[in-house]
Symmetry: C2
Subunit: 253 residues, 2 copies
């Protein structure tokens, strides 16, 4: 199978590697930054292109992995391609594709990708949606080459998944950042917290988080909560977050 990858960021990089590992041929990589395209092209054996006019119209899949607000513009330049065009965005509906395009779909990876961290693509949930049933069927077989975790999800539900991922990933990472801020201010090393962070994530792999909540708020341990708020008196923003989340825990339980 011949793949053209449009984009050269984290999502583009990890998809390109996954397609290559699955035995597909990366024919071209496009990026608005020619150096980025060249860098990813070297790694994957593809040809870097700097202009979408140079695109090979005979590939099987055109994977769009660019910023959300650039997707529409990219699609407008792909009117002559014969293969299936897919975007990879959680927050972009399928109707970003005009009906004039023959084969299109969405291949949204519900995962967080980092430039310098390899990922086991077998653990990446892939959410698929397509123009029609037939295209969905072929998109599904393409997705299954990359990961066994393939889910059919329409645009409305994909938006919801993306939103819930903001809570479970982006906001969670920010809480890690805040806890490190507290440690640093007191000359303590983040290293000591890492096993707790792993265990907290592992606990909910076989349980629902609501059933494994711990800490002072769920115990209504007002004495500890008061002490913690005192410790945060010189960090008003963190104190506010502490109060908001403690209140929310009490309300949930």
């Amino acid at each position: 199978m011949k793949i053209v990858c449009i984009g050269s960021g984290n999502v583009a990089t990890h998809f390109s590697n996954a397609f290559k590992s699955a035995g597909s041929e990366l024919v071209q990589i496009w990026s608005k930054n020619p150096e980025h395209a060249a860098e990813l092209a070297i790694k994957t054996g593809a040809k870097p292109i700097a202009d979408l006019k140079e695109i090979d119209n005979n590939a099987d899949v055109y994977l769009i992995a660019v910023k959300d607000d650039a997707i529409e513009e990219v699609i407008a330049q792909l009117s002559a391609v014969k293969g299936m065009i897919v975007h990879t965005s959680g927050a972009t509906d399928i109707d970003v594709f005009p009906a004039t395009i023959a084969k299109y779909g969405v291949l949204y990876p519900l995962q967080t990708f980092s430039k310098h961290k390899a990922i086991d693509f077998n653990q990446v949930p892939l959410c698929i949606e397509a123009k029609d049933e037939e295209i969905l069927k072929s998109l599904k077989s393409i997705a299954l080459m990359l990961s066994p975790l393939v889910y059919e999800v329409n645009s409305e539900k994909r938006r919801i998944l993306h939103l819930s991922a903001v809570f479970a990933c982006n906001f969670v990472n920010h809480l890690y950042t805040l806890s490190n801020e507290i440690l640093q201010r007191n000359e303590l090393d983040f290293e000591i917290l890492r096993p707790l962070i792993m265990e907290t994530a592992e606990k909910v792999q076989n349980a629902f988080p609501v059933d494994v909540q711990t800490g002072p708020a769920i115990r209504n341990d007002e004495q500890t909560i008061t002490k913690h708020k005192e410790l945060l008196s010189n960090m008003p923003e963190l104190k506010d977050i502490y109060e908001t989340l403690s209140k929310s825990i009490k309300k949930t339980h």
Copy 2:
């Protein structure tokens, strides 16, 4: 080494198992709930006791793993014991021990324990503090029997660690709960989010969270943020948390 365990909850259970695995003898388990004491005693080969007056005064270590507000009361009943008394609380200072006690210290596990999930104690950071240098030295060798991750931490810093753990564990788990709430309202399964949760925790095992932050807030993607707030319009509490944390991410970066 002979251990008496005072308490029968999650911390008491995991410590008892760890001591047993390390070759120590669990001689007695006390709990204010005799059934709980009996249950843990059967598993560890200890004798359950219902009254602290029955305590064996000749053990080497008396591990207090009861609720924070019961620690002082328990200590008051241990005046005749000859071994080292340690409490396991993150939020309780070492000065909860009266100076009349010969050997005392703190053995605080910076980890979250669940009743039905086994834990690799080799991955549990143990924070130790003791009455004097000599006792600290023996407490350190005891702690090293259980885990290689032993840190000397005074009461002031232990309070800080406990506070940062509330952010990195308790609040994080609550964000998992909120993301599941969003999914459930829309008939989506939490299963699909679990790989993302693991990867988010794994990413910070070899990086600082501030360096791997992703999501709409750090990208200043106002279009997506507005869409998300609309999706949360019927969940005002979650909308409030979304706004608070997005604002905090922008401020940090």
